[in-house]
């Protein structure tokens, strides 16, 4: 069996893909696992022992001729790359990148008999989603959405394999002889984006606050060569004997060794927190801005997340205190902590957020539908009900006699549903659910597609009726509201 796993996102996403690759190999020990990443992030696959063949998407190589006005050369390079992958005749292509590029690649690479998981395309080039987990991602994950499933758990659901503890392990790495102290904590001073990054002064203040409480601890600084000036600034402001500055001197793979012996990793949202998940090193994650920690937070069994709205609102003294308390074995009260369940964390939440998440769980995980006494949601429910009834009646009346009119009504109803979701955020999970269910309808005979569509709207009607008083549900319906 030949399996291709596609992960075209960044360093952190690649490390988050390690456990599912191990799980696939565990379930299919004789399978030949191929792994595709971008060349720019290829080093994040270094040490992943279950891979038989490693492929790299070299974007500059493909696009540079285009910049030189040689479109045909770029097309030739794309052709050569995708044809080589297609000629491998994979039995299963698993796309763990939820992006347009990866969906076209998946469809092109997978021959007709291959199984595909994740985003792909149908024969007419439309987005095609075959598994419920990718449908969930399509409708509930992203900015201004309310997903609380971790990305690693979504990967597991896309592939359909549950994790075992052994899937979360670090590779065997050589001893680097870096003269590390016997006992230390690690500070990763970088982050993937500028808005998530602390400056040298802030880090130095945090360290000084921590050292006031705990003088005997050593601190190892790690980061990329670009971050070396920040590390120099830190070193210049903190008593030197406590700092081991490895910034710019390590490869990503070296972090496995450094973190496996470290008492704690302190860092922003970046790849090392996902490496720490594989070494199971405790993590104190400083999480800024619009990062959704539910999706990409640290997965070490002992993880703490400090949600900080902006860099300017950071309290260095408090962070120094938190580091001290965590190392003492305490759980600082304000922090978000790890949890084993559908959600990976326990966090304080506003009642409206709780309703939205409970509605998502009811729609996707068969949990009870939550109560809602919010009038704006009731109004949205009434509009959804009215629109759904129009759709159901139109399907019944027009499918045979006026299919073009039916198509127009369905398009118009999509626009109405979308508007309702925009105006009433609490209704957004329902509208997203409807979108994803429709996109997952398999191409086939018209009658089957129509039947599948009908079932989706009937389910929506049942769900929305739960939020409308029974006398109103009974009083409506029929011709007046059809």
């Amino acid at each position: 069996m030949k399996i291709l796993i596609i992960q075209l996102a960044r360093f952190g996403d690649i490390y988050m893909t390690w456990p599912i690759l191990r799980a696939i190999k565990r379930i299919h020990p004789d399978a030949e696992l191929h792994f595709l990443t971008r060349s720019r992030f290829a080093s994040a696959a270094d040490g992943l022992e279950v891979i038989s063949h490693f492929w790299q998407l070299n974007t500059p190589h493909l696009l540079n001729p285009l910049v030189e006005d040689q479109l045909e050369v770029s097309v030739k390079r794309v052709t050569s790359f995708v044809n080589e992958l297609r000629s491998q005749k994979f039995d299963w292509v698993i796309n763990l990148t939820f992006s347009p590029t990866s969906s076209y690649l998946t469809h092109f690479i997978a021959n007709k008999r291959a199984k595909t998981s994740g985003y792909s395309r149908d024969e007419e080039g439309h987005l095609f989603i075959s598994d419920p987990a990718s449908g969930y991602f399509y409708s509930q994950v992203g900015i201004n959405r309310h997903n609380r499933l971790h990305l690693t758990d979504i990967f597991s659901a896309v592939v359909g394999i549950d994790y075992h503890p052994e899937d979360w392990r670090a590779p065997v790495v050589e001893n680097l002889n870096m003269n590390l102290p016997k006992q230390y904590l690690t500070l990763h001073i970088g982050a993937s984006e500028k808005g998530k990054r602390l400056n040298g002064f802030m880090w130095a203040s945090i360290i000084r606050e921590f050292l006031k409480k705990s003088k005997d601890r050593h601190i190892v600084l790690v980061g990329s060569p670009d971050e070396y000036p920040v590390s120099e600034e830190i070193v210049s402001q903190v008593p030197g004997e406590y700092i081991v500055n490895l910034v710019g001197q390590t490869k990503l793979r070296d972090l496995f060794m450094i973190l496996s012996c470290s008492e704690l990793l302190v860092g922003c949202d970046s790849a090392p927190i996902h490496i720490a998940a594989l070494t199971d090193t405790p993590v104190y994650n400083l999480s800024f801005g619009n990062v959704n920690f539910w999706e990409t937070g640290p997965k070490s069994s002992m993880s703490f997340i400090d949600r900080i709205p902006t860099i300017d609102s950071l309290h260095t003294a408090q962070i120094g205190q938190h580091i001290y308390e965590i190392l003492q074995g305490n759980s600082p009260p304000r922090l978000i902590t790890r949890h084993d369940g559908i959600e990976s964390y326990v966090a304080p939440q506003a009642p409206s957020d709780a309703f939205i998440w409970n509605l998502i769980k009811a729609l996707y995980f068969n949990e009870a539908f939550p109560l809602c006494e919010d009038y704006t949601f009731y109004e949205a429910a009434v509009k959804i009900q009215e629109t759904t009834r129009v759709v159901l009646k139109s399907i019944a009346d027009l499918h045979a006699s006026a299919p073009d009119s039916l198509h127009k009504i369905l398009e118009a109803s999509d626009a109405i549903f979308k508007k309702i979701g925009t105006i009433t955020p609490k209704a957004q999970p329902l509208i997203g659910w409807l979108e994803s269910q429709k996109i997952m309808i398999r191409p086939g005979p018209r009658s089957q597609v129509l039947q599948d569509t009908l079932e989706i709207y009937e389910t929506l009607n049942k769900v929305i009726n739960l939020y409308i008083p029974e006398d109103e549900v009974q009083g409506q319906g029929g011709e007046n509201h059809g």
Partner: protein, 61 residues
């Protein structure tokens, strides 16, 4: 030429993207969706990602 070179030329890439998009539109009028079109779609999306620095997940596509 490296990624940085490409990043500095977003306007140039926008121009190329426009060219590919127009080509795709004309192909879509004259033939059904096929492997040739799909390869161009891959190229088009790679350019889009490069312009928007979106080499990551984005759920709806």
């Amino acid at each position: 030429m490296n990624r940085n070179y490409l990043e500095k030329d977003e306007n140039l890439l926008m121009e190329k993207l426009d060219k590919i998009t127009k080509l795709l539109s004309s192909l879509a009028l004259s033939q059904r969706y096929n492997a040739e079109i799909e390869k161009l779609k891959i190229l088009e999306e790679l350019v889009r990602e490069q312009i928007r620095h979106e080499d990551t997940h984005h759920p709806t596509c």
